[in-house]
Symmetry: none
Subunit: 203 residues, 4 copies
DNA sequence: TATGAATGAGTTTTCATTCAT
DNA sequence: AATGAATGAAAACTCATTCAT
């Protein structure tokens, strides 16, 4: 029993080792240009060794993505402060937790790259969808609360604004890849997001 | 002289023929999965024939992208109505020209796909950057006009809002790929964009 | 001593367990497409476990073949009835023991498959040769008896006819794989074999 | 037009060149053990060159098989002499055309090997089936003629005997692989086949 | 005895590109 | 201008076998 546990732990370590090597490769070369051989070289293991832990390239890529979500995307609901009203809650999220936003920006290039493969690799799309819905639901909920409180206009569709809110960040991150000199992240995103909040506020 | 002209025209026609075939392939298979052979088959020409007109795959891809921008991205400045103030101008753009937005949505999947390769293929990135800057400058200009008019708050950074504005559309289009059931396009984008406008307005 | 015996018995059981699993795999996938991993999975043991009992794939394959011959190929001499003359003996074998023939047909596909590897793997060829000679000797003996009795023509070469006799069965079994709709087994084989017997009979 | 023809001829030559190299490899290594790389090396072309002419290993293998059938399996109906009755016709075929039989024996090892893959590769099975049916029909026809003539017993099933007839050759060829010291080919096959003919004759 | 992580040469196939015609 | 045969590096993946535990 104890042995089995030890082995499993070692396996997990190995997997992590492979994933971390792969991330380094992916950051350098991009998803499309990274080959299994690259991941294998970076892992320090042999071909068979890597394939022992991940049964295909897709499998490894999903492993990387999961690791990413686990490590880097802090659960937004952790940032909730229950005393605040909806508006303050959102503001707080935008202005006080800037570290999160900055980290998002750093990882952005790789994320966008993965993201683009959501089109081609269904299982990657599903991973993204899961994360996306989670966020979308949470933000829509906060906005709904704001509507119920009378903070936001009753004409607001909480899902539209939640989607737009997230879109600002995703879209600006995309732009960062295309025209890094023209886009200041997260500043521009925060300013736009605050404008959205002001725009839906009840005067 | 006349002959030379005729020849050039035929050349242009051939190029277009190749590009149009390639677009059909790209829409069906995606950028990463489309091979030169696929483009060649769809062109009706031979290998050598296609390579005569485009010296590499990258070259052809850029040709496709240019054709795309020329054909499908209506120059935003055409939509300008000079009698309107900045706020009305933006509103008009969002609510009266919905056909444009819808077309953007349709092309989005392929664009996102191309976009992914902005990371890897520098020349593709440059094409996107050119287009991006063009739009960004134009929108920032309109917003600046609104600030000067006193329509918008003086604290507004026109480039931040222009960037956010575009980001909403790009970001929501991305989301469309990931979670099509959760995103209504262009509705959500328009509602968010209008909220931004309301948010930066001088009360 | 007793312990040593118990151990050996357990070993034999393990080997049999591995072989039976392997046969199931071989029937489903064919010899060429079956991997050591498949055999290991089907055995319920681990990699090391199987390799402990069979030192290589070839070794396991030979084990399977032996098991096969032991289990399924009833010793033809058991079917001998000593009161009968040679002609009746052969007839009896063909017409009264049809169950055997049918079983042969069922196993045929796998046998043919193994057989193909007789070319490549010398040790498999040797196993087949052993079995083949055993049968050939026995049938040739019966025919020789018939010649001595005056039942069969004295011009007959007993080994030629014995070989041909077996060939009819093997050949028709092969044909069964290639053109199952065109071959009725064992009917066609029995009819041909009876014709051979009639053909060598002294009128 | 002339050019197109020349090109096609050259293509055919290339294909033949690849096939002939492949046959040499197959004779030496066997079907199962021969890799595409081996065929490529033996062809003198590059990887892509071979794949230009044969789109997969299976495709090449079928090419080899066809070439074989075309080159080596003389159409049995060519051997027909119309003045002879059925019995003499069959005898003639067995005793006068021994060169054919001997050549069959020589090629036998490779054929058996291919044959074994009829189980695994459907397209190879189909090629064999085609050839098989062709022969079977022809022989059954001759036997039917003999029955109609009163040469053969009316109780004879022509397809059973035709199948058995072919089986003798196929079966003995198999035996040749397994126990070459115990099998004389084509002698044993001819003697058995003649016995079959005698066995179905009307006394 | 038994486990399963690890090895690495090997497999088939793809594909952007070149070049003689 | 156009053809298509040829190149060869690289791709993803397999698999019999070994060995530390």
């Amino acid at each position: 029993m104890a042995e089995a546990n030890e082995r499993e732990q070692k396996n997990e370590q190995r997997k992590q080792q492979i994933i971390e090597g792969s991330i380094a490769v992916l950051k350098e070369k991009g998803v499309a240009a990274s080959s299994m051989n690259d991941f294998i070289k970076s892992s320090g293991l042999s071909k068979g060794g890597v394939y022992h832990h991940f049964k295909s390239k897709e499998d490894l890529l999903i492993g990387v993505l999961n690791y990413f979500f686990e490590q880097h995307v802090t659960d937004i609901s952790e940032a909730t402060i229950h005393d605040l009203n909806a508006y303050e809650q959102m503001r707080h999220f935008l202005t006080e937790r800037e570290e999160i936003l900055e980290r998002v920006g750093e990882l952005n290039q790789l994320m966008m790259d993965f993201f683009a493969h959501a089109t081609t690799i269904e299982s990657i799309r599903q991973q993204f969808e899961l994360q996306y819905c989670h966020f979308q639901d949470y933000i829509a909920l906060v906005i709904q609360k704001g509507i119920d409180n009378g903070e936001f206009k009753s004409s607001v569709d909480p899902y539209a604004i939640a989607t737009g809110f997230m879109g600002v960040f995703d879209g600006i991150c995309s732009a960062l890849v295309v025209a890094p000199d023209r886009v200041k992240f997260p500043n521009y995103a925060v300013e736009t997001a605050l404008a959205i909040l002001d725009g839906i506020r009840q005067q």
